[in-house]
Symmetry: C2
Subunit: 161 residues, 2 copies
Amino acid sequence: MDGKLKDQYLQDQLPIHRFISYRVLRLHSKLNAQAARILKETCGLSLAQWRVVAVVATEDGITPSKISRFSQMDKGQLSRCVKALVDSGLMVTRDDPADQRIQHLSLTAKGHEIHERTLPRMLNRQDRLLLGLSDVEREVIFSAFDKLEVIADAADDPADE
Amino acid sequence: MDGKLKDQYLQDQLPIHRFISYRVLRLHSKLNAQAARILKETCGLSLAQWRVVAVVATEDGITPSKISRFSQMDKGQLSRCVKALVDSGLMVTRDDPADQRIQHLSLTAKGHEIHERTLPRMLNRQDRLLLGLSDVEREVIFSAFDKLEVIADAADDPADE
DNA sequence: CTTTCATTGTTGACGGATCAACCGAGCTTA
DNA sequence: TAAGCTCGGTTGATCCGTCAACAATGAAAG
């Protein structure tokens, strides 16, 4: 008789609730919102900007194209991230002596400071997420992600069998 | 010595690769792109529009607010989806006799036709995703999603301990 | 040397998601 | 009935991610 409760049953029974891509979408938007909340409080960076900072912090001198290649971030998005980070004084670009197309990225002192201040909170969050899972879930989830990514990248077979 | 290969090692070793939210982001964008590809070929709907069609097909007469409540879709996004679907003749709205705020949604004949044409391809895709996983992975992944969603919704503890 | 092609990074355009302000309708309480 | 509240839905602003076009540079092939 309760409307809200009935909606809950509905949620569990609707076929959509077992759709992987729907569940991934929901999880993604929640994780995203949580990370954005933390970053806003801590350093004011967007999630994409934070990822660039984190990568450059562990691989000093890396180039945007390498970041784009292994992290599958969009070139354009990356370019804008770098621009914003340089403008706010967290990052500097250094030209390559041998190839004028290439930029090498490094954090400034301010960039390192912000990275070191922010990383613990992000690791803490990561730990909370992982500790919330059982051992099996923690083991399995990454391999499942790998497999799903491969399938999602594969061509969609046009025939229905 | 090979640049591409070295990038691959880099990908696996960087800490970011084990970050859950990063992996969910990547998986999400791939699943999204795949679904958008299929929908574009099949019926020209956006993913959000397709979800609304799928829900209304199984729950005729459902209202936007109910959809929003259980699927956690944004009210505004839903309103625009419904408008687009009505404009293209796939859906009709029916007023509630007792409460003039409420709209009940139903598919038109054309809407049902498109739903029945599209659903098999989407289910096929879903099957391919699930069959790519091992039994354990398939069992575990949904419970892991549930737990992660709860943690992501929880307040972020401000203290670093 | 010159032509052609691949790579690096920048930019503009577009669609999608999110947030907040808002309106109209119903309910509640005095 | 009037005041204040909640609820359903619409709209606009803004941000983010994606895609395509482009300029500049370098490498390869003739």
